[in-house]
Amino acid sequence: MAAAGGIEVKLIGAWPSPFVLRARIALNLKGVEYEFLQEKFEEKSELLLRSNPVYKKIPVLLHHGKPICESMIIVEYVDEAWPAAGRAILPADPYERALHRFWASYVDDKLNPSGAALSKAQTEEAKVEAAGQVIAGLKLLEEAFGRLSKGEGFFGGDDIGYVDIALGCFLGWLKVTEKTSGVKFIDEEKMPLLARWAERFCAHEAVKAVMPEPERLAEFARKRAASAKTPPAN
């Protein structure tokens, strides 16, 4: 519900950023109305610099003007600030919560850096090595899916949860990388659970309106490479 005189929830972000996408999906899952403040790519806004002086990065959630930074911290905040809305993003049981937090951290601590290494790899050898690391990481997540989903369609069970958001935000960029590298990361035969999950995730109501099309991301990447700049992202 919007407060009198203005929207009480604002999200500072940029449409190509998978980290920003995490925050948007969480807000959508909870049915929270928010104003999206698109950052310019060339220059960080005063508001961003003031709201996240430590990292100066997106996403930043502003709730009643108070800033919350770091994408998965924002997701957890959304879950806790709107507990009655939508569905719980983290499970109720403390042990399950610990497992979900573990795998979400794994995505950020291991999988994402190995993806970054792949995009920076210069030699064929380095690319093969880096791609191998990404696939090894995804294989662990394939196994984790079996454990966390309890036979349902998402890491979060019958609906999108914390780990789905942590991993799913990268699916658009993953498709772009698959095209440019020729490597199939989520192979239907080797990772059947993740392959089906990926389709389900991208088709979800809370995701499809905000997840950019791979073609649009690829175009964005081409333009950025041409001007040799990188988008601000967490």
Partner: protein, 254 residues
Amino acid sequence: MDPPSSLKLLGSWADSHTHRVQLALKLKGLEFEYQEEDAINPSPALLLHNPVYKKVPVLLHSDRPVVESVIILQYIDETWADNPIMPADPFERAVARFWCHFAEDKLAPAVGAVFSSSGEGQKTAVDQVHDNLKLLERELRDGAFKEKRFFGGDKIGLLDIVLGCGSYWLAVFEEVMEVKLVDPGTFPVFHAWLKDFEEQNEVKETIPAIDKLLEYARGIRQMMLSLSNGTSTTAPAAAGTTSAINVAVDGSSG
């Protein structure tokens, strides 16, 4: 003999992440069994219960493993509700989690870099530590933690545990490396908080004696210097020493 506890902690005596868990368990008044692990030779139990990272700390609760110290701390807080270590308010929780992330992501690596470098590289690392401490000092003085005794308020909370268990390395490195990291003149509020934190009974019972930490740090530094032959500004530490330093300062990977 007491009945076996349902809680068992796999840890390393000089590992700050292990101390975090030990302190949290103490603050909650929870009994637990402790098993010392050698970072270079992990036990079968450690490999079984933390196959992904193969690192301490690992908390076993009725044989179910929880890993990653900040995740363990939240697990403990959510399982045993008395003496909460997380704030109740969602915004304050987000702030605590943010600064925990900062501690792991920025501060700890900078402190570790001071220890593993020399010459120009060390000067850069010291400057990084100071830059990071400035951010914390500002937050303590004017920001989210203004006029609070601890980051958690009147009592020690999650962020105190995360920052506090590791901050003793600052004093150790100051002595071993002969650098000034926490000048009370430059960081008065942080310095005062640290002294207060270290005086708490549960903290005194958890953190090893400073002379043991000094001896440990000196031993590793010697090993590193003899390996690098003092030729590089950032010591290319061998896997063993790197993991030993990482265990000490960064602990498990998260």
